[in-house]
């Protein structure tokens, strides 16, 4: 099976506390550490497990700039055979639909049986997979937490509320957004990354993909204006003092509220 995984490079929230810049209209970006969007590792791992079982290749693709090559190499170090960068000056400012349009143009240039995305990225939008499927007119499922390969189709599980799961059969080719926890993504060491450091990464621009004009300008319907800190509301009463004092206060509170007899 030929599998394409769409990945993205994002600020790493396990390395950064997101704070506002001094102007108060954007997040402070100077010290941000970037890495691959964590849910995308689950998608790559799942793709690798499928080809290990039933043959084929895994290709990882991202829309971005030269800096984004590093995440392609990371996923190649996991075992993806190819990395592809879709890059063009005119792609900056593309909204979710624009990204899906660029990816769809790339997909139609090749042949993929299965396309995977991570469940969501740092913006929590969870949109590109479903849009990509609709643009390609492929079936789609979100929040997928199990995949079994059958002839010409897959048997998949979807996570729904309360820990329950829906089971579906879905025809290939299709697009799936992969929920975190579906597997344990394999570890990637420095040595693995060095081994793929010089593998060429093909790059395709707007002209190569034939998406001139329809991902920028008036085609951008959704645009972030600024970031801001949410209103605090009531907020928690913060306990002050040294650790011993705070522990003392907390024990009294727990007694009063029925947490401790």
């Amino acid at each position: 099976m030929e599998i394409l995984v769409c990945a993205r490079r994002v600020p790493d929230t396990s390395e950064n506390e997101i704070e506002m810049n001094s102007a108060g209209n954007d997040i402070a970006r100077d010290d941000l550490v970037y890495s691959v969007n964590e849910p995308d590792n689950y998608a790559v791992e799942e793709a690798l497990r499928i080809v290990e079982r039933s043959g084929g290749n895994v290709t990882v693709v991202t829309v971005g700039g030269d800096d984004d090559e590093e995440i392609l190499r990371r996923e190649m170090a996991m075992g993806a055979k190819h990395g592809v960068l879709l890059s063009d000056q005119s792609f900056s400012g593309a909204d979710g639909r624009g990204i899906a349009t660029i990816l769809a143009a790339f997909v139609t240039k090749g042949h993929y049986d299965l396309i995977l995305t991570g469940v969501q990225a740092e913006d929590g939008a969870a949109q590109v997979g479903g849009m990509l499927a609709a643009l390609l007119d492929y079936p789609f499922a979100s929040l997928v937490d199990s995949i079994e390969t059958l002839e010409g189709k897959l048997k998949i599980g979807r996570e729904i509320e309360g820990g329950n799961r829906e089971i579906y059969e879905i025809d290939l080719p299709c697009v799936l957004s992969i929920q975190t926890g579906i597997n344990e993504p394999r570890y990637v060491g420095m040595r693995g990354i060095r081994q793929v450091a010089s593998v060429p990464i093909p790059t395709f621009g707007a002209a190569d993909l034939g998406v001139n004009g329809n991902v920028t300008g008036a085609a951008v319907k959704v645009k972030r204006l600024d970031y801001f800190v949410p209103p605090l509301g009531k907020g928690a009463e913060m306990l002050k003092g040294d650790t011993a004092e705070i522990v003392g206060q907390l024990i009294e509170l727990l007694k009063a509220k029925g947490g401790l007899k």
Binding site: T13, M131, L225
Partner: protein, 322 residues
């Protein structure tokens, strides 16, 4: 102004609580016109839902078809595309069904898409200004959306307070005939119920809950010690289950268990809305997190800015002294 449609999620003939929240959100977009409720389904359940919505919506569009008996988003989308007028605003709850349906629906309707909206700031011409959250709720963002060709918007559960509606006596309009052939390249087979674990966390009045801040599997024992000292159950947020450090049956949240304790100690938990959605009954909530800006401090009653790996053992040993 385009008409606003509210997609009604329902089960067993009863509309989900999100129906009233969508109506409230629609009122923030356009207070002058009542939104239209859209119900897809089949048989008596579908009829019962439509009937119940007459009390709160001026108009209810019923789309009944045997293929819609189970809410398979791939089939529901086809039905909506053939029934909803182009240029419409479509509101859908941002839960597992919404993420399955809405992105593709926006493409097929050639409409803008804004997911997981928690605030609506108003309309300027054909531009709607909305509020979203990014980075697990650490920051909010204003978003502008050009609705000139319509929009699909998913609404964060709990973000919009239902308002009393007086549009009683709404009419049910049967749109079933407008639906063409429905094909299913994704076919529903069955639903598998959640696995029950060794401990029923929904029965405990006190919960010690851990998140990403526990850092390593070996550290789970630190929190278990505290839970034992308090006679509490140990629960967790999603990252702990994803890492396979605890069983799924211990997860609190919209995709895990819904709990209703008296006291909830959130330890190293950032406080995503999916996690908070699993905590009901307004317990006394203590948050312990080394990031003083963690969103959990916005909702907790008492906060402690500390590293749980240092703080929890101190707390446990003092409790045991007593």
């Amino acid at each position: 102004m385009a008409r606003i449609f509210a997609y009604i999620v329902h089960k067993g003939g009863v509309a989900d609580d999100s129906a009233a929240e969508l109506a409230a959100a629609a009122g923030k977009i356009d207070a002058t016109e009542s939104p239209v409720a859209v119900v897809t389904g089949w048989g008596a359940d579908c009829d019962a839902v439509c009937e119940s919505l007459r009390a709160s919506f001026g108009e209810v569009w019923k789309i009944a078809n045997a293929a819609l008996a189970y809410p398979n988003a791939e089939i529901v989308r086809q039905a909506l595309v053939s029934v909803l007028p182009s240029g419409s605003l479509v509101l859908i709850p941002h839960a597992h069904f919404g993420t399955d349906l809405a992105p593709g629906l926006s493409i097929k309707m050639d409409a803008a898409y804004v997911p997981d909206v928690l605030g609506i700031e108003g309309m300027d011409g054909a531009v709607l200004k909305l509020v979203r959250q990014e980075f697990d709720g650490q920051v909010n963002a204003h978003v502008r959306c050009d609705i000139s060709t319509g929009a699909v918007i998913t609404i964060r559960p709990g973000a919009f307070k239902p308002v009393e509606r007086t549009a009683a006596g709404g009419t049910v309009v049967d749109k079933s005939a407008a639906v063409g052939a429905l094909t299913a390249r994704r076919r529903y087979l069955e639903t598998i119920a959640a696995e029950t674990g060794d401990v029923d966390i929904t029965r405990y009045p006190v919960l010690v809950s851990i998140g990403r801040g526990i850092e390593e599997q070996e550290n789970v024992a630190i929190a278990q010690d505290l839970a034992d000292a308090l006679g509490a159950a140990l629960t967790c947020s999603r990252p702990v289950v994803d890492a396979k450090w605890m069983e799924k049956s211990r997860q609190v949240g919209s995709s895990g268990q819904t709990v209703k304790p008296k006291v909830y100690l959130a330890c190293g938990i950032s406080g995503s809305f999916q996690h908070l959605a699993g905590i009901k009954g307004n317990p006394f909530m203590v948050a312990i997190n080394k990031n003083p800006k963690a969103p959990i401090f916005r909702v907790a009653d008492v906060g402690i800015a500390a590293d749980i790996l240092e703080f929890l053992p101190e707390l446990t040993s003092r409790i045991r002294e007593k």
